[in-house]
Symmetry: D3
Subunit: 166 residues, 6 copies
């Protein structure tokens, strides 16, 4: 957050803010194949949903089922509902507004012996409260060099946070 | 939705709509027997709740518990709360309004070698996006004729959707 | 356990024992409707399975699924497998032997103002370590007399355990 | 609720009410150790949160995760958010208002051969609909006297509810 | 199962059998990021594990956690254990032998207006008890032609099972 | 594993081994308060069980329930069963033998500005494959110095693994 270091490069950041335009949708699903649920999750994320996840629930008539939850901006609410009605067997979708408080985000780059790894920093009230290596970058290195994913994360963490490099 | 076919009979339908009078209630339950939870679910559904289901949760003091969720129209909110307070051991119920977008519904009948099966169709923007055989009808046939439930569904699906009969 | 009391009647008991003939079956289900799972559970219990239950699991390709577990005596293993293959879409069933240590069981009857309730006692090393009212009896009274199920249990518990009647 | 009995002492009660100032917060957590989640739960409860619990969820990229839910009064919303951002790795928190209907509460004391146990009563529309022994009191007696926790509860229940002492 | 039809082509089958060489491994994971769990699942499946899945569990010290379960042939047990120890933070793995009863498998091809879909059939005691379209084939068609996945399955089912084509 | 460093001290280690004397016990619990389950978990761990955890399951008659699983050495099997029968309401316990492959364990100490933190290392085939700070040590420092738990872990990780100190 101070000056850039030679091991790090700033290339993106987003301000901390409260988003009052978010919607949470919920659908109870008890007569659909799980294969379709994996497919529907992908389609909703491609459409622009912020998040999609499944919660195990127990419904009437001894039905073990899942509740699908979707977070999206109200601007795309109709598209999201359309995809849910077209790809699942549900006859109803419930939804309600939620506020989302998002931290400021910034990406820095860290060099490792195997390539560059992006670090995502979370900024709260002007302070960095989070730092975590980007999963996709670590995964690519692990796959390419046949090194346990754990070790890539180790190296990145070891190189320090908040400027405390060794 | 078009004309009736000789294999099918229309006898009911409900318009697509957005219901803004729905309430979602939530209760965390950590000191009650599961036997009572099965009983309470039935009682709430008989009272007119649209849906009742259980979600596994992990509470403080290492308590594996369940959150009961109930969907109901605000008109019966007080009755629903009364039943929950009388039948469970909870000391508090939280609730909030939700909007429910329901598809238009229509029932058609399909003849099978073993009897009639009702099909429920879901209509979105004037199009049929869902069709599924009514579980209770399929179950009765399966029990009566000692045929795997799977086979009853197979037969009904085979006979086609959206008018594509063989 | 001592003598019978005028409020209680003995009419059944089963010895504590270790059963070495039990089998646990497990099936991962990710392409079947939950409606069928409720149906299959009933069918397996009717066939003589000791217990059937569902566990939420997360499978590959982002599939939220369920593992069905069945407990049965090895004598009916083939029938149980047949029902699972016929009623679900699974292509494989895994199973292994388990030992079950069962408490001695005895039923006593307790009179209440609304009728008789059976109490099931569990006996371990000759001592009663459990007592619980039979759910079905309590439920019938609750339904018939429109009394919260909780209150039926309260009355029965109040009347004491292990002979400590008031 | 009538007069005090010699076996019981009244020493506290809170009126039944509807609380419209409550907030429910939700955080999806998929890159944090469970060790930290147990720690964060304690910290939030110490800060004044009414309740904290975890729900299993299945997220994208085959990530089995947990949703942490927190109930708190809107007065401490900022403090609660601060703790979540500082102690977990989340980059966003979603929240929305909920209404909580709380029963009237009253504590009575009951003497047992091993010491005093507080009973918490729940009052709905002027009627006692709940009574349950305080867990901490029963636990202390069980630990101190090496008696199964079950037996402490048995004794307390046997001594009656709503004044029906034997 | 008898003769081939012009709409179907046989190209593979596997006999029904009981496999007595299978191992089930279990690992309780409470101090690892979910990101790594998704990665580990992939790696184990690439290595030859028959199945990998996650079960939500609640551990001591209020830790919401996951149990990873792996099914594999005993021949690759050591490789599977090695991957688990290298990619996760666990200090121990428990495992035990299980028997797996697998149905006979056969693939047939079905032509659709959009391309060929493989159907997997399950054979039990010489009878076809299962038929389900291969997910990957249906998914590819759905993606390529922008048709809801549901409709691809509908078409395939409609075309019949066990030779009952329309 | 090589020589000791001035920042680290060796004081304990346990050899990698396969334990063939372990038992897994399972109990389905559907008529007991969650308060008791937290209590029972503690009691079993005090008695010497290696691990105790809860799995959400869905049982017959619409009962959301939990399966308690316990890992213990066969030497204490009878004690463990006794506690389960005395503290829960179950009438039966199922169990079976499992093999547990445990990594070699070694503790090293690392100095931090706030005190000493023990690191637990896991050794597989003579190699260190794991290292993680002891939770209790990190927690104590976090509580005492009012520092987020995350930061204590950060510092310890930064100081390196496998001898790569800065």
């Amino acid at each position: 957050m101070k000056g850039s270091k030679n091991m790090e490069n700033f290339f993106d950041h987003m301000e901390e803010h409260e988003d009052v335009n978010m919607i949470k949708l919920e659908v109870n699903i008890d007569d659909i194949s799980s294969e379709w649920l994996g497919y529907t999750m992908d389609k909703l994320l491609k459409e622009g949903a912020n998040d999609v996840f499944y919660v195990p629930i127990f419904m009437k008539k001894n039905r073990p089922a899942y509740m699908m939850q979707v977070l999206c901006d109200q601007k795309i609410l109709e598209n999201i509902k359309r995809i849910i009605f077209e790809e699942t067997t549900t006859l109803g979708i419930r939804y309600y507004p939620v506020t989302v408080h998002r931290l400021g985000r910034r990406f820095v780059e860290r060099k490792t012996p195997w390539g560059v790894v992006k670090i995502k920093q979370g900024i709260y009230n002007g302070q960095i409260v989070q730092e975590s290596p980007e999963y996709e970058d670590c995964k690519n290195i692990a796959d390419r060099h046949q090194i346990p994913l754990k070790k890539i994360y180790d190296y990145v963490w070891k190189k320090g946070y908040k400027g405390k490099e060794t």
